[in-house]
Structures are given as structure tokens and as C-alpha cells.
């Protein structure tokens, strides 16, 4: 690593040993050495995939020589939307993201508020630890649980519904697959909202809550006017992060239904996977990926810009 700096320091000071010189170079430019690997990896994982997806989406078929590719304009995009089911999968994905996000936020907040109000510290931490455990369940294990418990023939849940209630159990995975996916994700990730909201609630100063109690504000007013506004940054970040992760949903659906029956649970991530590895339509897959990338990143940036990260940072 012979940079100009090195030769300069050589001429300025007495001759140094090689190790001393390296050490000098290291210490003088510490911030650069510290940040360079991160920056390199970040460039590789943010700019490269987007650019490559875009390139793939514009060509006829992938070739070894990037410059010899046949550019076909936007035809891959029109294929994606006319025959590739892109629109359908986008709608399905947004349905799952929105409903799971609402369910998990509300449930997580209610549980957090209830646990925060428990009198005994020991009972409190018992609930806190217990409630985070579903997060340990990987999508693949979650799909396993779903398959075992919801199976129409051998599943315990249909069995209990059929034998203990007057209702007939629905065929969860074939008749209401999307709802099943949403509910399973809720089971899996409500803990995420719970634990962050719980931490947020604990950070609300007692004096603030006490003051509004003395003023005679009823419980719901205390939450709406005092506690939730105070927690706004936490609520915002939790929801944003969860939203980002919901757009990544893949494993559970892949394990449960593989996108089916038909295309009923074909989320965008499943759709892209199928276009690429089942249908061998790499360029169409890339076109969907480009649309999806732009949509998700734009949406997240709009949310960040609108709601603002400033309250969070400073």
C-alpha cells in the first residue's frame, strides 16, 4: 500500500522501520481504514444488485459478455405484467404487508401495555421472556408447525374445531391460504412489536403519566394524548422495520403453500423465484425484481421523509 502519504511521512521524519511505518499509516488514517470495508460491502450489496437487475430486465437473455447483450427495451416488463402475474403478486403482497402490520402493531402494543402494567416484577419478566419466544421460530419451522397443526386430516386445530365446536373446520391451507399466512406471520412476529413497544413504554417518564393521572384523564386519553405521542419515534421505527421485513416474506409461504393453491399466495418474492428457477424466465424475473425494488425502496424513503427520522436521531 504505497500511497503518497507514506512517502511524505518518510521524507519528513527519520527513517523508520517497516512495521513502524505501517503502524503510522494505520493510526494516521484510522477512520478511513475503519470505514472502508463497510463502504465496500455496502456498495456491493446496494448498487450492484439493482444495476444488474435493471440490466437483466432490459435484455433478451443473459450472456457471458455484458456488452454483447441484446437489448429489448421494456418488453420484459410488459411480459411480467401480462403473463408473469406481476400485478397479482404485488396486490397479494401489499394485502399481506398491510394486514399483518396492523394486526401485529395493535396486538403488540396491547400486550406491551398489559405487561407493563403488571404489578410484580418477576411476573412481568416472566411474560416478557415468554412472549418473545415465537421469534426463535425460523420460517421453515413455522411452516412445519402450520403443516402439522392445520392439516385437514391429522391437524389438531381442525380436529378441535370439529369435535369441540358446532362448526366445521375450514380447509385452512386450500380454502383460506392468505389469511392463514397472515395469521401465522402474526404469531411469529408480534413479539417483535411487543418487545420494542414494551421498551418504548418503559421509557415514558413516570412523572408524565402521573401528571395526566392527577389531571383525571381517563386511561384511553392518557394513551392517546400522552404516552403514544411520547413514543412516536419508537412506534415509527418499529413499524418501518417490520414493514421492510414483511416485504421480504418468503420462507413461510414457500414452506406452507409454495405460492398456491393456484397463485393464491404468490407473493412477489415467490413469483420472482418461480419465474427464475421454475419457468426459467430470468429476464422476466428481473423485470419484476426491478419494479419491486423501486417500489419498496421508494415507499420506505417516502415514509422516512414524511414522518422524519429526525425525532429519532437527535
Amino acid at each position: 500500500m504505497s500511497t503518497p502519504t507514506q512517502t511524505q511521512s518518510e521524507t519528513r521524519t527519520k527513517p523508520e522501520g517497516k512495521i513502524a511505518r505501517v503502524r503510522r499509516l494505520w493510526n494516521d488514517h484510522l477512520p478511513i481504514w475503519f470505514i472502508a470495508p463497510m463502504a465496500t460491502v455496502m456498495v456491493l450489496i446496494t448498487f450492484f444488485p439493482g444495476a444488474y437487475d435493471l440490466y437483466l430486465s432490459l435484455i433478451k437473455e443473459p450472456t457471458l459478455n455484458v456488452f454483447a447483450a441484446d437489448f429489448v427495451g421494456l418488453s420484459n416488463f410488459s411480459t411480467a405484467f401480462s403473463r408473469g402475474g406481476a400485478l397479482h403478486s404485488l396486490i397479494i403482497t401489499i394485502t399481506v404487508v398491510v394486514s399483518a402490520l396492523i394486526l401485529e402493531s395493535v396486538l403488540g402494543f396491547v400486550l406491551a401495555a398489559l405487561v407493563a402494567g403488571v404489578g410484580s416484577g418477576r411476573v412481568k419478566s416472566f411474560y416478557r421472556v415468554l412472549f418473545i419466544i415465537p421469534m426463535a421460530v425460523a420460517p421453515v419451522s413455522l411452516a412445519t408447525i402450520g403443516r402439522i397443526m392445520l392439516n385437514s386430516e391429522v391437524g389438531i386445530i381442525p380436529y378441535v374445531i370439529n369435535s369441540a365446536t358446532p362448526f366445521t373446520a375450514p380447509a385452512f391451507l386450500s380454502k383460506m391460504p392468505l389469511l392463514t399466512v397472515i395469521l401465522m406471520d402474526t404469531w411469529n412476529w408480534t413479539p417483535f412489536m411487543f418487545i420494542i413497544f414494551y421498551a418504548g413504554l418503559s421509557s415514558v417518564p413516570d412523572t408524565l403519566v402521573e401528571a395526566s393521572r392527577v389531571d383525571g384523564a381517563p386511561l384511553w386519553r392518557r394513551y392517546v394524548h400522552v404516552i403514544i405521542p411520547y413514543m412516536k419515534p419508537v412506534v415509527f421505527v418499529a413499524t418501518l422495520i417490520r414493514m421492510i421485513d414483511l416485504f421480504r416474506t418468503f420462507g413461510v409461504v414457500y414452506g406452507l403453500t409454495q405460492g398456491g393453491p393456484g397463485t393464491a399466495t404468490q407473493l412477489v418474492s415467490i413469483n420472482i423465484y418461480e419465474q427464475m428457477f421454475v419457468n426459467n424466465q430470468v429476464t422476466v424475473a428481473a423485470a419484476i425484481a426491478v419494479v419491486y425494488l423501486i417500489m419498496v425502496v421508494a415507499l420506505c424513503n417516502i415514509v422516512i421523509a414524511k414522518v422524519g427520522f429526525d425525532g429519532v436521531w437527535d
Binding site: P37, L56, S141
Partner: protein
């Protein structure tokens, strides 16, 4: 909930007491219900993994049974499962070490130095998490084939690093922000170099953060499926992928599936319970920590 206007007297106190009792009962009823919702599926999976195969999915279920580790023994006798499990352990652990080596120093610099456009840099780092992995994996599929990284552990380690880097940088930056600068300044007055100040003073103070971010990174990499599905074939298959081989076939091997799933859940559950104190900070990218 109606607030009672000031009406001093024992009847009000009595009313308040009963109301508090009712609130408490309702509270615990809801919390216990959710506890059941959380625990029952896990109990069911665990019990299935501990039943002999013939007893696994009989209906009505055998609520009372003699637990056996037969399924686990069978599972760990399958060399492919052991390989996949070992693969995951090695690849995930290596990725955690690497992501800490890359992320922690970068977070330190972001915390201590004036970086131009620091806000944009941080949002850019966060944006790497916004990229849906399926859109990211497509380019890497091709580049991995060309660089002979396809189906290698090194390739998978790099992908796992990419999942967790933003998390590490954000959380550790928040942690470093909370450590007084005076600490390392004192060390430098005593003759320590910048690097020594970082290594001997700042790092030890940030230990709790490093542990928790390491474990959370471990978990996120451990449960990852898609990269394994697309970027491996046989040699570097992670355990998440191997578990699907019990499902994919025409008949599902219920007991083995349950045992394999449990084998994946247990280590992560233990980790989660260990870091539960710092979990919120880690999952929220450090925001909760700063409150």
C-alpha cells in the same frame, strides 16, 4: 372508562379497589390467553418430536405418552442433516465474526468523527435492509457462478454478512454514542494511539452491545432460507433448506420434520432469552436504546 368525580368516602375507595381487581383479572386473563397461543404450537411440535413415529399424528391425539428421543437419534444419524446443521453453524458463526469486524469499526467512526452527509450515509446503510432479498439474490446467483462461489460456504458467509451489516452499524453507532468521549481522550493523554484507545477503552465499554448484536445477527442468519435455496446445491446447504426435504417428498416424515424443526428452534430460543434485555435495542436498530 368513566372517571368518578371527587366524592370522598369509603364507598369510592371500595369501588376503586374492586375496579382495580377486575382490571387485574382481565389483564391476566388476556396475558394467559396469549401465553397459551404462544406455547401451544411449540408444545405441539415438541411433543410430536418426542413421540414414536407411529403415535405422532393419531387423532384423537395421545395426550399422555412416553417421551422418546428416538426421532432425534434418527435425525442425527442422517449424515446429510448433520452436514447441513454443521454447515449452518460454521457459516453463520463465521458471518457473525466477519460482520462484527466490518461493522463495529465503521460504527465507531460514524459515532466519533464528522462524516460528510452523515445522515444520508446512515439512511443508505439502512436502505440495504430495504432491498428484498429475492431481488438481490438474482444478480448474486450469476456473479457467484462466475466467481466459483456458488454452493460454497464462503459465498454464503458473504451473503449472511450482507443481511446483518446495516443492523450492526446502526446498533453499534447508538452504543458508541452512549460512551463518553472523555474515556478515550484520557487514554490518549496517557500516550495510547487512536487504535489502542479504541481497542482497550471503547470496545470493552461497548461489550454488552457487541454481544447482543452478535446474537441477533446470528439469529437472522440462522433462520435465512432464500439464499441457501438459490445459492447452494449440495455442499454448502444450510439446515433451513435441509428441513424442507422432509416436506417436499410425497409423504411427509412428520416425526423427523418435528425433530428437525425443534433442533433449529432450541438454540435460537436460548439465545433470545439470553439477550432479551438488549433485544429491543438490537431489533429497532438502536433507536430504543437512545431514549
Amino acid at each position: 372508562m368513566a372517571t368518578t368525580k371527587a366524592e370522598p368516602g369509603s364507598s369510592q375507595r371500595f369501588e376503586k379497589d374492586t375496579r382495580e381487581k377486575i382490571v387485574s383479572v382481565v389483564r391476566h386473563a388476556i396475558l394467559l390467553t396469549w401465553s397459551f397461543v404462544v406455547l401451544f404450537p411449540l408444545y405441539w411440535l415438541a411433543s410430536m418430536s418426542l413421540k414414536p413415529p407411529g403415535q405422532a399424528n393419531t387423532l384423537p391425539p395421545d395426550w399422555v405418552f412416553l417421551p422418546t428421543v428416538y426421532n432425534y437419534l434418527q435425525l442425527f444419524q442422517r449424515s446429510k442433516f448433520v452436514t447441513a446443521f454443521g454447515n449452518s453453524l460454521i457459516m453463520v458463526a463465521a458471518s457473525v465474526v466477519l460482520v462484527l469486524l466490518i461493522g463495529v469499526p465503521a460504527a465507531y467512526v460514524l459515532s466519533r468523527y464528522d462524516i460528510p452527509m452523515e445522515r444520508d450515509v446512515l439512511v443508505w446503510i439502512l436502505s440495504s435492509r430495504m432491498l428484498p432479498p429475492i431481488a438481490v439474490v438474482l444478480p448474486f446467483f450469476f456473479i457467484f457462478r462466475n466467481l466459483n462461489l456458488f454452493d460454497t460456504r464462503i459465498g454464503m458467509v458473504l451473503m449472511y454478512v450482507s443481511i446483518n451489516l446495516s443492523l450492526v452499524v446502526w446498533v453499534m453507532k447508538a452504543f458508541f454514542d452512549g460512551i463518553p468521549v472523555t474515556l478515550e481522550e484520557a487514554a490518549r493523554v496517557d500516550g495510547a494511539t487512536r487504535f489502542q484507545g479504541f481497542r482497550k477503552v471503547v470496545l470493552p465499554a461497548a461489550k454488552p452491545g457487541i454481544y447482543s448484536v452478535a446474537i441477533i445477527s446470528f439469529i437472522f442468519a440462522w433462520i435465512e432460507l432464500l439464499f441457501g435455496l438459490v445459492l447452494t446445491n449440495s455442499k454448502a446447504v444450510p439446515v433451513t433448506l435441509y428441513v424442507y426435504s422432509f416436506i417436499g417428498s410425497r409423504s411427509i416424515e412428520w416425526s423427523m420434520l418435528a425433530a428437525a424443526s425443534m433442533a433449529m428452534i432450541i438454540p435460537v430460543a436460548v439465545f433470545l432469552i439470553l439477550v432479551n434485555k438488549y433485544l429491543a435495542a438490537g431489533l429497532s436498530f438502536g433507536v430504543v436504546l437512545k431514549e
